[in-house]
């Protein structure tokens, strides 16, 4: 089931948990044996602490949800001093999702994370739609993404995964720019910008009016984007967006993903991540694949 994403990032199996949906892993240890996962990606972290957006921060939508958490986190320093010591000995890959609002924030953050032995990779979040300067400004243009990825690349020696925003007209172009600037892999999709209204009270359901859509309802869009990006780039693609079971995960692999992440589905079944890993193995056995990596991009189209 092993997956090698390059530059030292080797996963036990293709299943990781998506940033912002799995806390720091600790929240799920009653339900999941973390050693049965390829990796966990911890909450989006910024150089300086952020209180995030006001409540209400979520609204349920058909087969999905909107959130506008707004990158609430205690900052990179706090992560290093307080959280890292608690989670560094987890028997899985712990990736840090790094976000920022300025180029300097990203670079300083990456420099600090580079010193942590047990963090084999950064997932660079240039795609958070929920804060004014959430990095999405970098993630929606080829020049923006080239700039942030190449600057971070200069200071960060380990695996650099770049998380792409779906809120663009041509995602393959953005992915190519990330690749050219030195990304080791790309992950997609982050949430789709959306909105929900409470008609009875004529009010937005979210405090900051718009938010990011996730969950089962985004899967067809995510799958299409993974397929487009996988055709365009040579670096590995990590697919996510609405994956709720092993067959969904297999579909992303067939579309071109080398590994997958599970987000919102963790809220519905806190043990779903390990179930997906088991189910993917079972799929491979049933269809006679020796290695799960054989599934990548073999869509018969």
């Amino acid at each position: 089931m092993t997956i090698d994403l390059g530059r030292g990032l080797v996963l036990r199996n293709p299943v990781m948990t998506a940033s912002g949906t799995f806390g720091y892993g600790e929240e799920y240890t009653d339900f999941v044996d973390l050693s049965e996962l390829g990796g966990i990606i911890v909450k989006g972290t910024t150089l300086n602490p952020r209180e995030g957006n006001p409540y209400p921060r979520m609204a349920e939508t058909p087969s999905g949800m909107l959130n506008c958490v707004g990158l609430q986190n205690k900052g990179v320093r706090y992560f290093i001093d307080t959280i890292y010591p608690r989670i560094k000995n987890f028997d899985t890959n712990v990736l840090l999702n790094l976000s920022g609002s300025t180029l300097e924030d990203y670079v300083r953050g990456a420099e600090m994370i580079d010193t942590l032995d047990k963090i084999p990779a950064i997932e660079l979040n240039v795609s958070c739609p929920n804060v004014k300067q959430g990095g999405m400004a970098f993630g929606v243009t080829t020049t923006g993404i080239s700039q942030v990825v190449s600057e971070v690349r200069k200071v960060y020696q380990k695996h650099l995964m770049v998380k792409l925003s779906p809120n663009v007209t041509n995602i393959a172009e953005i992915a190519l720019a990330a690749e050219a600037a030195g990304a080791d892999s790309v992950s997609l999709i982050n949430t789709l910008m959306g909105m929900a209204i409470d008609a009875e009270h004529r009010k937005p359901k979210l405090s900051v009016i718009t938010g990011g859509l996730s969950g089962a309802c985004v899967k067809p869009v995510a799958l299409r984007m993974v397929w487009q990006v996988a055709k365009a780039v040579k670096i590995p693609v990590v697919g996510l967006g609405g994956i709720s079971n092993a067959i969904d995960a297999v579909e992303f692999m067939l579309a071109g993903a080398s590994a997958i992440e599970i987000g919102t589905a963790n809220f519905i079944d806190p043990a779903i991540s390990v179930k997906v890993a088991e189910g993917m193995k079972e799929y491979c056995e049933r269809h006679g694949f020796q290695r799960v990596s054989e599934l990548t991009g073999i869509l018969d189209a």
């Binding site: 949906t21 806390g23 009653d30 339900f31 209180e51 995030g52 409540y55 979520m58 809220f267 519905i268």
Partner: protein, 253 residues
């Protein structure tokens, strides 16, 4: 330890606007504290994609039963309240931290509004076990909102207010005469936010210790998604993990 467990409905009582569900697990239950809740999976529809947080109303360790009191608000709670005996339902529980138990000899008041009376039942049972007989002040719009009143009466001294005056004193819980002639050491509140705020103000004026149980919108219920936060003196904290019960001194009300 938290768990995700399938339960079978073994008793369902429909009260019209709400229903009582007694759920049975095949496995022994973990220790559940008053004020903790379960995140309940309502299967079968795109509009009930996420779990619904529901307080623990009663626990029977001998038969592995958890009882919930569910008010029919929208799709999810209507479906839940409509469940029949023999049907299966999955619970992630026990979540949150629960109420702080009073000390021996303290005079306690439990204030419940609407479906907010649900967790107070389990709290009162625990107080009885510790030898305390609480005063329960329960409020509803009409007398039909006051579910299981005879059962609450077995646990303490029950006082009632209704907005239409159909039972007890007319008006909101904060208008009840008990506030003028009785003193308490600890007050516990659960109900709609405006009502909890009003009681919190009263408690604050009287300088009485007071805990409230919040009902913020939730997704994960585990402290992972940061959707359910309340603004406190310590910043945004997760209601699902650090609450749902908070001392009013911690809140910015």
């Amino acid at each position: 330890m938290k768990q995700a467990t399938d339960f079978i409905v073994c008793e369902a009582v429909d009260y019209g606007r709400a229903a009582l569900l007694r759920l049975r697990s095949q496995d022994p239950l973990p220790v559940i504290k008053p004020g903790q809740f379960a995140n309940v999976r309502v299967d079968g529809s795109p509009s009930t994609y996420l779990r619904r947080p529901i307080s623990i109303h009663e626990v029977d360790y001998a038969s592995n039963d958890i009882t919930l009191l569910v008010q029919k608000v929208g799709e999810g709670t209507k479906r839940l309240a409509g469940m029949k005996c023999g049907e299966k339902v999955n619970l992630v529980f026990p979540l949150g931290t629960g109420f702080t138990m009073p000390s021996e000899g303290e005079r306690v008041l439990l204030v419940g509004g609407g479906i907010g009376i649900a967790p107070l039942y389990y709290l009162a049972i625990h107080m009885n076990v510790e030898g305390l007989k609480p005063t329960l002040l329960l409020g509803g719009k009409t007398k039909d909102d006051l579910l299981r009143l005879e059962d609450y009466q077995k646990l303490g001294d029950v006082l009632v207010t209704t907005e239409d005056g159909s039972l007890g004193e007319k008006g909101f819980v904060t208008a009840h005469s008990v506030w003028n002639h009785r003193e308490f050491d600890k007050i516990y509140v659960c109900g709609p936010k405006p009502m909890m705020k009003a009681v919190a103000r009263l408690a604050d004026e009287k300088e009485v210790w007071c805990e409230v149980s919040l009902e913020n919108l939730m997704a994960c219920g585990l402290g992972a998604c940061l959707c359910c936060v309340e603004d406190t003196v310590d910043g945004h904290v997760c209601v699902c993990k650090e609450g749902p019960v908070f001392n009013i001194r911690r809140l910015k009300w």
